[in-house]
Symmetry: D2
Subunit: 350 residues, 4 copies
């Protein structure tokens, strides 16, 4: 019997390559047995060769049907996710998929239903759950050390706006950026929100406003136990990638500052100066990506459900859509009503 | 000519006594010439005597009419504020008044209109504007160092809920507690909000819920320039009096941590331990109270309008009422519409 | 019976005035009944008058002999300290004296011997023992939380060199500046050192070197239990008054950072900036001076020995002289041998 | 032509394996072509095989003579270092060698002389120079931002004493532990010290004292420009691996705190709690080891002298011996006199 998880990776873009590096360099329980990418170039083929990965194909379908592959990592463009998930589930392959499953809610539901029925393991790529700081907060909350959560706050700000081309196709700030924070707040609180209220503005880049999107946003929500949540996002923190969270509870408060490159301070007559946060997600979440993949591999090997899983693949999308609706209507939107619909029942019947 | 401001103090409760100490010990440009309190006790009389203040009366009216008094500090119960303000204005005395002017909005408007017409100086007791940390944030915002404000966040949490008797008569969390933060957010941003949305919960003390109030609340708002504001309040931070703020802007971010008694850390195998914030407002804002009074005295001596002034005496009250309304209706409330009303015009016609 | 300690203050220079303010404003258990200063000016007389102190004399001897005075605070120039201490002791007055008692070691011994024999209370002005940060470290050490001290480190750096006139008459860096740290290290460890080794340099102001003094110095020492101490001093920290300490022990480590005016940070693309320490001792140690005086007043009223007391008035002077000797010889100097001398026996026979 | 540096690694113990991982996972410009270890086991052989390294030998000499090897990484036991260095130099191989070159000073001199004459590149394994925090301090010093160094302080404390077997053969605290700090202080200041004074104690483990060693030590030194240095070491910081440094200069101060696993704080009624430092050198200096190796590989490829080099391989050893001598004699020891000897001249004649 093969003692390591045999992994096939679809897609060798920035994120695909990152996961390849994680498995090859840092995850001894997994091995990359095949890579598929319709647009793979020679440089990438050489890079893989050097690392002992010689089985490369331009046909994702071939990889999914490869009987020597135990699990598929789907790092292809979003519009391919759903079909590759479905095919992988049908072939009995465990699935790691980058978020989101799809932009269309109905299609996500149908896709995940198939995964659920197939019984394969499924993990969605919300990497921040594996970040050392946020995971610690979650651990502290779960330990009961700070009691019941009362107020949860997340600040999440990018260093610079994305290109307008991306903005036009990404689904907007709530869908492409705050979706990470929607997942994070559920992770920290351990509950889904009841209702959402969103305020947004165009304070940085007027072009963003012209396509109906915002570049600055504040969203509040409440949870079933009555606790309250706040997320603020900005497309441009000139000082770097600002990623902080705080859970205030009945017995205390747990919060994280930003990581920094060094712990050095320089004191001169002008003041005390320390480091800004690292510039962007690859620096900030490097080890989170590694641990995300390690978590997936280990869960499959242990025959446990990976986390974040099916529910986590869809609820942040629903939250993003609700936020967009609230922003447009100026009124709060109830999630409870949406989630009570019959089509979502399969997510919760464990 | 008398070179110091001759001050009469009405009320010798906790806050009255605090202001008396400030003037006597720390403010060389002012002198307490008379104290009035219908319920003054011998201990207080002795305490004043020792500090050279022998002119004590049980009649506030006598003090207000005393021609040797230049300025009146009104530290009486709230239900006396309006009439004492009016009488002081009519007597041409400058006025420092503890907040709020009154619980009734119409009465506040009428009272402040009289003050405005009289031409006397007027300062309202929002002491936190004089806090070293918050004032520094304001200075940084004004300096332009962090550019235009985009997101403003205030956390303000009391160490323990007040007695139920207080809760019943105080006007509720939005009126007695968050009102400070409503003033602070205006101070930090330099604008009045356009609309307000409030969420609240009863997570600490069920009795508070029974009288229609909340013990935990999150309020979001937007400002004319499109920037967004967030205030969170809790009646019980078990670790002390939590008072923090952050202004995120187009060129950077300015924030304050809590004050602490010491800067000492203790590192053992269990972790690194540092101080919690000071327990409550007298410890946290001691020097802010002194500087508040110094600011009033100096403004009067310099013949400048003191700040916070008339506008600041009423807008936070309007915000508190709007927040309560939003909390009850579940929908945002527009302040702009309220402030556009004719009756408020006098506040803005400088 | 008079329930407050009746205090006479000799000297109305910077430090005398500071103590006067402390007693008048902050110490309800004490009252200033007389002030003496041969060179007092009208402005000071008016200042005292305003605060209810009308008994002013130019004759310190008159004050010392005043039967209405319980305790004398000696804030006169150093060359008057010894004779005023002796006279006060002879008159049965309790004594607070600014450091040092004298520059001449033999004279200090003789003076303190007289105080000891007289039975009056005596406190020497090492104000830093009352600082919130250093006192907390001492409390932590005493609590046993960090176990036995192994390594003790003090950094103490002035914002700018004193005038050369002061340098010439002060006894030099070890005597006028590090003497505070010599006392502090004894306070933190709770022991007197066994031997001392000093290195110094002239890195800031060549003129200081020309009079045989140093402007930068590092002194190491060991204590009877084998623990090791380090003090570093500089005459010029361009960023302010740098005052830090650390005690590393068998069970942990306790350290203090500098106080700062605010807890505000400003984050821009250039970095995160926070406050430098306050500029000098009056800002940094304001409350320490108040608490020092309160400690003296309370100890006398409680009929307890004040601390720092007789032993503390002389051992730091011996350490300073030993450090100077070590610096000059290039070899360590043993304090143990000095302290074993018969003349010091009275300090230790409690 | 081969575009990558072809590396042979001698020794597969803890540190050898660490360097192997660095080159394989993180350093694209280098490739491991052979590994030698007389005592290599099957598990290690498999581990290497999986990573594409199949050329394994039990004969270091074979590796050194392998014409397909450009550079040798010597990670064997210390008593083999000198002969393997000499042989590598004779074979024209570039050399990375773990510290120390040898315990015998004369042998180090002779070995390094041969390296110097051979013209091969040589780097000694003082990995801390590549640590993000310490390197930043050095960069700040070099930038001139804090002016001329006046006082340099290093705290370096292990989490627990080593086994007594190690203590007996390691050369003692000054040689096996403080040697890193001797190198670091030279790195930070950019100079060699003039004289050294050492104090030590046995405060943790009496057995250590029985073999003539210390477990706690403080060393002071001065530099040619008059600046002063302080190093403190402890064999046991119960809270983890304490690694801090501070350079105080004419224009400011630069210091580093410890790294921590997270930036999370937990605030409860008991206090604010944050992380202790990581437990030991593999966690603390992981990336420093990677960067050390990357620095060596890049320097060889660029035909530059690697750093730390020959001089750095010997002067910390001389400092350690001087510290031991000072500790035993109780007097300072001059390094200047030692370094002026003719036999060291080759180190400085560039």
């Amino acid at each position: 019997m093969y003692s390591k998880l045999r992994i096939g990776v679809i897609g060798t873009g920035k994120i695909g390559r990152l996961h390849l590096e994680s498995v090859i360099n840092h995850i001894s329980q997994g091995v990359v047995v095949q890579v598929a990418d319709p647009f793979i170039d020679q440089k990438m083929i050489d890079w893989l060769e050097e690392r002992g990965v010689s089985n490369v194909t331009k046909e994702p379908e071939e990889l999914i049907r490869n009987s020597g592959v135990d699990a598929v990592m789907i790092c292809s463009p979003t519009d391919k996710h759903a079909e590759q998930i479905v095919m992988s589930a049908q072939e009995g392959k465990h699935i790691f998929c980058e978020k989101p499953v799809d932009f269309d809610l109905q299609r996500i539901v149908e896709t995940l239903k198939i995964v659920k029925d197939s019984g394969v393991k499924f993990q969605i790529g919300f990497n921040r759950r594996f970040d050392h700081n946020f995971r610690r907060i979650r651990d502290v909350v779960e330990s009961g050390k700070i009691g019941e959560p009362h107020i949860v706050k997340i600040s999440s700000r990018d260093p610079a706006p994305p290109p307008m081309g991306y903005v036009r196709s990404s689904g907007g700030l709530f869908m492409d950026m705050m979706i990470h924070d929607f997942d994070m707040i559920r992770f920290l609180v351990g509950e889904n929100p009841v209702s959402i209220f969103a305020k947004g503005g165009v304070l940085i880049e007027p072009e963003i406003g012209k396509v109906g999107d915002v570049d600055t946003a504040v969203v509040t929500m409440d949870f079933p136990n009555g606790s309250l949540g706040i997320i603020d996002n900005s497309r441009q923190a000139v000082y770097g990638y600002d990623q902080r969270a705080e859970v205030f509870g009945s017995k205390g408060c747990c919060q994280t500052e930003n990581d920094t490159d060094t712990r050095v301070s320089v004191t001169t007559a002008e003041g005390v100066s320390t480091d800004v946060p690292p510039n962007f997600f690859l620096e900030r979440y490097f080890w989170a990506y590694v641990d995300e993949m390690r978590g997936f591999v280990q869960a499959v090997l242990d025959d446990r459900e990976p986390s974040p899983g099916l529910e986590d693949a869809i609820i942040p999308v629903i939250m993003a859509k609700a936020a967009m609706e609230s922003f447009k209507s100026g009124a709060p939107v109830r999630l409870e009503d949406i989630l009570a619909k019959k089509q979502y029942a399969f997510l919760f019947d464990n």
